[in-house]
């Protein structure tokens, strides 16, 4: 049913649903296909005039059953499906999962393997934040930033393609090390990128930092204080923007992060602008870590020396029967992992991503539970949006950086 409503000089045909209730309260369904929701989020808004009274996020439009799929694959194969959860930072997913399995197995890759892992994960963080920057700026109305930001990401994806063969979803980290060593000349290319990146980031910051539109739309918008953020399970840059210096890399160092020097940027107001600033500063911290990782990179093996876990080198297959058997066993059956439960937390570009892995001693994981940070961020959106204007919804969702592959899994 609908009725005619006078609005200024126009007579509007308005659906009854939208003017139900007190008369001026309206229920508005945004998404799941909407350009500002960064994926397939549906938000049901109750608004009075331009003010948001209540927001209810609805998720699940990208539910993929990844956790179920992982239970039906071997420990190595599961890396492939877990890759596709947080598709802006697949290497963080890889790292968390392989660290959890390595904890169960009680192994640790050699220094070169560990250093390359950190190098690539930090590059991934830069790429992920670059996309965040580009898409957020696009939502706020600045299309040129998208072009600059995607160029940064493009340069990083070239590096990933060189190392692993795939631009996105590389599945490059394996239990016990890496799929293979990085190719020759990789370090020079990373170095060239690291020389280039601060200039490109500076360009972006020149556009945004003092841009009145950018400031007006982000400052004081989507404020969330520290206590509320903690209670809602917010982590990562969103939590640090509220002034809580909690970074898993510092609090519970993993993968050798305790050997690296870097600072933790925080915000003070917990608004969208602080979330922007924290991410941009974090990109430079990642840049610092990459530089240190390059200095540490020395020739050597990248995988653990255990043929029961890591595939033998290809050349050996031609003349060694034993290598052939190991290869066959690993590819067809995989390897057994001792029974136990382990939770591996790590700092993905979005926050604390946790892998709770349960093994029953067989060649397949019994259960892989993933704590996706974005899942909790989506349900913190109502707290950030309360009382905001309808147009601010766009800025709030964008600044919280949800990735729906990870929310819905």
């Amino acid at each position: 049913m609908s009725r005619i409503v006078q609005s200024g000089q126009y007579q509007l045909n308005v659906d009854d649903l939208k003017i139900a209730g007190s008369g001026d309260r309206m229920t508005l369904s945004i998404g799941p296909h909407h350009p500002s929701t960064h994926g397939v989020l549906r938000v049901i808004l109750e608004i009075e005039g331009e003010r948001i009274i209540k927001a209810t996020p609805e998720v699940g439009f990208l539910h993929t059953g990844i956790e179920k799929n992982a239970e039906h694959l071997t420990w190595t194969q599961a890396i492939t499906v877990l890759d596709r959860m947080d598709y802006l930072a697949p290497l963080s997913n890889n790292l968390g999962y392989v660290l959890a399995v390595e904890k169960l197995l009680g192994i640790e890759p050699p220094p070169r393997g560990r250093t390359i892992r950190i190098l690539l994960t930090e590059l991934q963080r830069i790429a992920s934040h670059a996309i965040w920057l580009g898409t957020t700026a696009l939502d706020i109305g600045s299309q040129s930033v998208l072009m600059y930001a995607f160029h940064i990401r493009e340069l990083i994806l070239d590096l990933f393609e060189e190392a692993s063969g795939a631009r996105m979803n590389p599945s490059y980290f394996r239990v016990g090390g890496l799929a293979e060593d990085v190719p020759e000349g990789f370090e020079e290319k990373v170095r060239a990128f690291l020389d280039e990146m601060p200039k490109r980031l500076k360009e972006i910051r020149t556009i945004l930092d003092k841009n009145p539109i950018w400031l007006d739309r982000l400052k004081g918008v989507g404020v969330i204080d520290a206590d509320r953020a903690l209670a809602l399970g917010v982590t990562g840059p969103n939590l640090r923007a509220s002034g809580v210096p909690y970074d898993v890399r510092k609090a519970y160092p993993y993968a050798g992060y305790d050997e690296y020097e870097f600072d933790v940027p925080v915000g003070e107001n917990g608004d969208s602008y602080d979330r922007y600033l924290v991410r941009v500063l974090e990109m430079m911290e990642s840049h610092r870590i990459c530089r240190q990782a390059l200095e540490r990179l020395e020739p050597g093996p990248v995988n653990v020396d255990d043929r029961k876990i890591v595939l033998p080198p290809k050349e050996e297959l031609r003349h060694s029967m034993e290598a052939l058997i190991h290869h066959f066993k690993l590819v067809s059956y995989g390897f057994d992992v001792p029974a136990g439960e382990v939770y591996q937390a790590l700092e993905s570009p979005r926050g604390e991503i946790g892998f709770y892995v349960v093994s029953n001693g067989k060649n397949k994981p019994w259960r892989v539970r993933v704590r996706g940070p974005a899942f909790y961020h989506v349900f913190a959106l109502p707290a950030m949006m309360e009382g905001a204007l309808l147009a601010d919804m766009v800025a709030v969702i964008a600044s919280a950086d949800p990735v729906f592959g990870e929310v819905d899994r």
């Binding site: 179920k68 799929n69 596709r84 598709y87 072009m147 493009e154 631009r167 996105m168 592959g405």
Partner: protein
């Protein structure tokens, strides 16, 4: 017009060609991002791939203004009614590209949650393999689609209605 002796067949094909030329030269894709592939789809407008040079740079946010649906990513059961509605809302003629393994066939997710190929829900014109396909592959698909539209090989939902 001047050849008033010519039969009408000749006349019609010319208009057809003109229309098809118009259709193929300004494909407007819909911003329908689902999963990983959506990021690579966004890359199409980035400086390196620059789809603007082929007349398709205007990504439309509303299905009413778009004629190309790039299904980028895995389609879950919960999303099916949505994609159907979006497809219905697009004006004819309209074309569909299934981008990536998941949209084409369900990909590695042969499970309870994922529709095994978007062609079970809406008709698809071009499938792009890859997980995710690189932007060049999608660009290639768009160019192939243009070619097919120009030759009158695909009719964009009109003939199927």
């Amino acid at each position: 017009m001047t050849h008033h002796n010519a039969d009408s067949q000749f006349f019609t094909t010319t208009i057809d060609k003109l229309v098809r030329w118009g259709q193929k030269s300004s494909l407007w894709p819909l911003t329908f991002g689902l999963a990983c592939c959506a990021i690579e789809m966004m890359n199409l407008v980035s400086p390196r791939y620059d789809m603007a040079q082929f007349g398709s740079e205007v990504f439309r946010s509303t299905p009413r203004q778009a004629d190309l649906l790039i299904v980028s990513g895995r389609l879950s059961n919960k999303m099916v009614p949505v994609i159907e509605q979006v497809y219905r809302q697009m004006p004819d003629p309209k074309w569909v590209i299934a981008m990536g393994a998941c949209a084409s066939s369900g990909g590695i997710f042969d499970n309870y949650a994922i529709v095994q190929g978007v062609d079970e829900v809406i008709p698809v014109d071009i499938y792009v393999p890859g997980c995710p396909p690189s932007p060049d592959a999608v660009l290639d698909a768009v160019l192939k689609l243009k070619e097919a539209i120009g030759d009158g090989r695909v009719h964009g939902g009109v003939m199927r209605a």
